[in-house]
């Protein structure tokens, strides 16, 4: 393969030598079905102080490559070929003892999920101190002092006191800061950051990444950054390595790759990345198939004022009783606080907010799975609270949900046929034969072959399951679909497909969507109107373009700034929607 090593002029000698040079790396896992290659012939170079990002979807081998460097492959994983040269030594050939000396001291790791990566039974300070002691940085009282310094450096306030606390007393962001302190404790030359913030809220994600970037630049630490988000990678790294099915398909300076992707996969990725799209997806019809004026356009050109409101939410409030550890100290927690909005028929309303903003509670109330404490929901002008049992049962046909986790939303014991047929059966629609015809029709609608109906959820991918969930939601011919983070768990390419599908279905069936998400980038692709929620309240509500071009609230501006890649002006000019 053609990874050139040195053509630069007048470089300082130490910088000319790569810190890390991976050549032809092969990693395989042994399973019951035989040896499965996970990484195939990967080349990668990191120079001292440089930030390199590996970008790829789940299963692309990006994390496996990173873990192979410090011999932390899970289960049966094994390096079966190639070399991992780190400062002139082949890490793949080191003994176990030599590898222990490299870990932490030479190469640090910031892992992916802050919730599971700290040991729950030891205090955070203890876990940082261990890293100092193991790498011979400090011990005893000096180590305690250093722990506080490191935690402060990682951006944790009141570090000396915090060090004595246990991980469960920390928020996700604080845990990730502690993990950064651990990763950098022994001042390694290379830091592997494996999706370090993907489990966190966008604004937290941004501050932590900013902090990490500042810190590594100051210390001169090289960073190998693993991410699924092309925008994030381009924003944080100067050099990108794009992986696909265990291979490097493209690598080079971030700017070159984004502005002129050469490999078709990278092109597809650039086109689909939601953070880079600047426009609402157009439906199939608008893309030039036919243009019927009967189905009013749903494009971003403003919402037709004559549409009626299919759902109107008025002064919605919902409180929960928090069960404290001690009696008599029950707290009331207001999850949703005086929220009002309306969804116009045939359009998409997005409810955006971070975790704990109350957006999912609103979704559940609209679905009538939860009763509001006060306020009301009008569906087609009818107050939901006035419905009796039978009317409520009928109402269920008109509003259907799609959930975030494609692995949890389908009953693993049900075949796809039974899954999609269940709504029809529950509402006693048609006979066996007509139901089967309807299932075929629905599968066709979500672009899956009819043979899928004999399968089970565990045989399908995340995107396919989400299509099944959509088909099930459509079975009863609903008017409103509540999408609760419906695309958040999917890889970008699949996410783009599902968003396009949702959009086409809207144009074809005149559906109205209530789209719950934390991701403003996705909002831009699908929503006509946006409500931004924070701590149970709606802080800003407007049509989508208005929110993006003219945000009035600081919080909205923070959210917008936190979209990965938002600051990169490369994308400013390219006005590409999704036409993959």
């Amino acid at each position: 393969m053609s990874q050139p090593t040195s053509t630069g002029a007048a470089a300082r000698p130490s910088d000319q030598q790569p810190l890390l040079a991976i050549r032809d790396l092969e990693v395989s896992f042994t399973t019951a079905a035989g040896v499965v290659p996970a990484v195939r012939g990967v080349d990668l170079t990191v120079y001292p102080g440089q930030t390199v990002a590996i970008v790829g979807e789940s299963g692309s081998g990006k994390s496996t490559t990173a873990h192979a460097i410090i011999d932390l492959l899970p289960g049966t994983g094994k390096v079966t070929g190639g070399s991992i040269m780190f400062e002139g030594r082949d890490l793949a050939a080191l003994s176990r003892r030599e590898m222990v000396a490299v870990r932490g001291k030479e190469i640090g790791l910031v892992p992916q999920d802050p919730m599971s990566n700290l040991n729950p039974v030891w205090s955070v300070g203890f876990q940082v101190k261990e890293a100092l002691k193991a790498n011979g940085v400090a011990r005893g009282a000096a180590a305690d002092k250093r722990v506080a310094e490191l935690l402060t450096e990682a951006g944790l306030p009141d570090a000396a006191r915090r060090a004595k606390q246990y991980p469960h007393e920390y928020s996700g962001g604080m845990r990730q800061r502690a993990l950064i302190a651990i990763g950098l404790a022994a001042r390694p030359k290379l830091l592997i950051a494996d999706e370090p913030t993907s489990a966190l809220d966008v604004t937290v994600q941004r501050t932590i990444l900013d902090h990490l970037q500042g810190l590594t630049e100051e210390l001169g630490t090289a960073v190998l950054f693993i991410t699924h988000d092309l925008g994030l990678a381009a924003e944080r790294a100067e050099h990108l390595v794009v992986m696909y099915r265990g291979k490097v398909v493209e690598s080079g300076p971030a700017r070159d790759i984004l502005s002129a992707p050469r490999h078709p996969y990278t092109q597809r990725l650039v086109a689909s990345a939601p953070s880079l799209a600047s426009q609402r997806i157009q439906s199939a019809k608008e893309r030039g198939v036919t243009t019927t004026e009967l189905l009013a356009p749903t494009g971003g050109d403003g919402v037709n004022a004559t549409r009626d409101d299919v759902v109107a939410v008025e002064n919605l409030t919902r409180t929960f009783k928090l069960r404290g550890g001690r009696p008599g100290k029950q707290k009331e927690f207001t999850a949703v606080d005086d929220v009002s909005f309306a969804i116009k028929r045939g359009t998409t309303m997005a409810l955006v907010g971070e975790s704990g903003s109350g957006k999912s509670t609103v979704a559940n109330i609209v679905l009538n799975l939860l009763d509001p404490t006060s306020g009301r929901i009008l569906f087609d002008g009818t107050d939901l609270s006035t419905l009796n049992r039978a009317q409520l049962f009928d109402f269920r046909r008109r509003v259907q949900p799609i959930f975030q986790n494609p692995y949890g939303s389908l009953d693993p014991m049900y075949s796809i046929y039974r899954t999609i047929e269940e709504p029809l059966r529950t509402h006693k629609i048609g006979d066996q034969k007509s139901r089967e015809a309807r299932v075929r029709e629905l599968l066709d609608l979500v672009a899956l072959p009819a043979s899928t109906m004999r399968r089970y959820p565990n045989e399908l991918s995340g995107g396919q399951r989400q299509r099944i969930a959509i088909a099930r939601a459509l079975a009863l011919g609903p008017e409103v679909i509540v999408c609760d983070e419906a695309v958040s768990a999917l890889d970008v390419l699949v996410q783009a497909q599902i968003l396009t599908l949702l959009n086409d279905l809207q144009a074809e069936l005149g559906l109205s969507y209530l789209f719950i998400t934390h991701d403003l980038a996705v909002v831009r692709q699908i929503a006509d109107e946006v409500c931004v929620m924070k701590s149970g309240k709606i802080v800003e509500a407007a049509v989508t373009d208005e929110v993006f071009d003219n945000p009035r609230e600081q919080y909205t501006r923070d959210l917008l700034a936190a979209i990965p890649g938002a600051a990169l002006n490369i994308f400013g000019g390219s006005d590409q929607g999704i036409r993959a």
Partner: protein
């Protein structure tokens, strides 16, 4: 800090399309045969020797229990003192016990009591404990608070201890049914806890919420979605529990307060063997071996099923 300009130039590389071909996003393999979770579990079970060994043993034990006449033509209750503690002879491969009964025949005929007690008690426990655990876990609130306390109360009395107290009251009217009822009454709490935990972990799954938003009733949702998905740990527990109930029955019979003397039972035979152990160890060996093998086959089966149903071991 070194800045980018001082670094050697790293060229823009891209792979040859032939070497890294693009695949259709999210394509579906129409050729593969459909596989439900149970089919998956069966597939994984089939490859375990432990499963085949225990399945063969269970089949054998059940066959012996159902049709003991097929395995021996000797009457286990035909005993002649003149044969007392004799060694193996033609037609009597295991020899004779102190009363002069044929050990082989008694071992064969002893299977029925053990298997019946084990199977019936397990059925009682699964029904009672399963129902209580499922209702407590699914409906929560007051149901759960009350049922969980009731479970705690029964749980606080160790199985064998409780059975001893009750069984000694039934001196005259003991039979297989009383043993089953007594073991059932005190054996269900553990299973109720397993069921409750499994139901609670399933009931918040999105597919349950989806069923609710379809308008499916609570009871239907519990029966159609929650219980089938909570079944795996219960099945595993029940298989192992079957073995422990057999042991409990044998313990009671050993104490003389289990099955009545006229029922041939391994536990009672082992108890009687106590006195003859020194002169003729095989008197103890055969009933004890048969008992251990039966129990072992069930708990081995439980182990194999647990591994096969382990979500981490599944392909996804």
């Amino acid at each position: 800090m070194p800045d980018a300009t001082t670094r050697p130039h790293q060229a823009h590389f891209f792979a040859n399309l032939d070497q890294a071909p693009l695949e259709v996003v999210d394509s579906i393999d129409e050729g593969a045969a459909p596989a439900s979770l149970w089919a998956d579990a069966w597939h994984s079970l089939r490859r375990r020797p432990l499963f085949w060994i225990s399945a063969a043993l269970i089949l054998l034990v059940v066959a012996v229990a159902a049709f003991p006449g097929l395995f021996t033509s000797t009457d286990p209750r035909f005993c002649e003192l003149k044969n007392s503690l004799d060694g193996p002879s033609a037609g009597h491969p295991f020899g004779f016990d102190r009363q002069g009964c044929d050990i082989y025949a008694r071992t064969i005929y002893g299977a029925r009591a053990s298997v019946l007690v084990g199977v019936l008690t397990t059925i009682v426990v699964v029904l009672v404990g399963g129902l209580i655990g499922a209702v407590a876990g699914f409906f929560g609130g007051w149901f759960d608070a009350v049922l969980s306390r009731v479970t705690d109360i029964f749980f606080a009395i160790p199985l064998v201890l409780a059975a001893i107290v009750v069984m000694q009251m039934f001196k005259e009217s003991r039979n297989i049914l009383t043993v089953v009822v007594v073991l059932g009454i005190f054996g269900w709490p553990q299973l109720a806890r397993v069921m409750r935990g499994a139901v609670m972990s399933v009931k918040n799954a999105d597919f349950v919420t989806a069923a609710k938003s379809l308008g499916a009733s609570r009871v239907k949702t519990l029966l159609r979605h929650v219980i089938p998905n909570a079944a795996a740990p219960v099945i595993v527990y029940a298989t192992v529990a079957l073995g422990t109930f057999i042991v409990a029955e044998a313990t009671l019979s050993f104490l003389g307060i289990g099955l009545p003397p006229e029922v041939t039972s391994w536990g009672a035979d082992i108890s009687k063997a106590q006195t003859s152990l020194r002169s003729q160890p095989s008197v103890l060996f055969y009933p004890a071996g048969a008992l251990a093998l039966t129990v072992l086959s069930f708990i081995m089966m439980g182990d194999a099923v647990r591994d096969a149903l382990d979500p981490k071991a599944r392909k996804r």
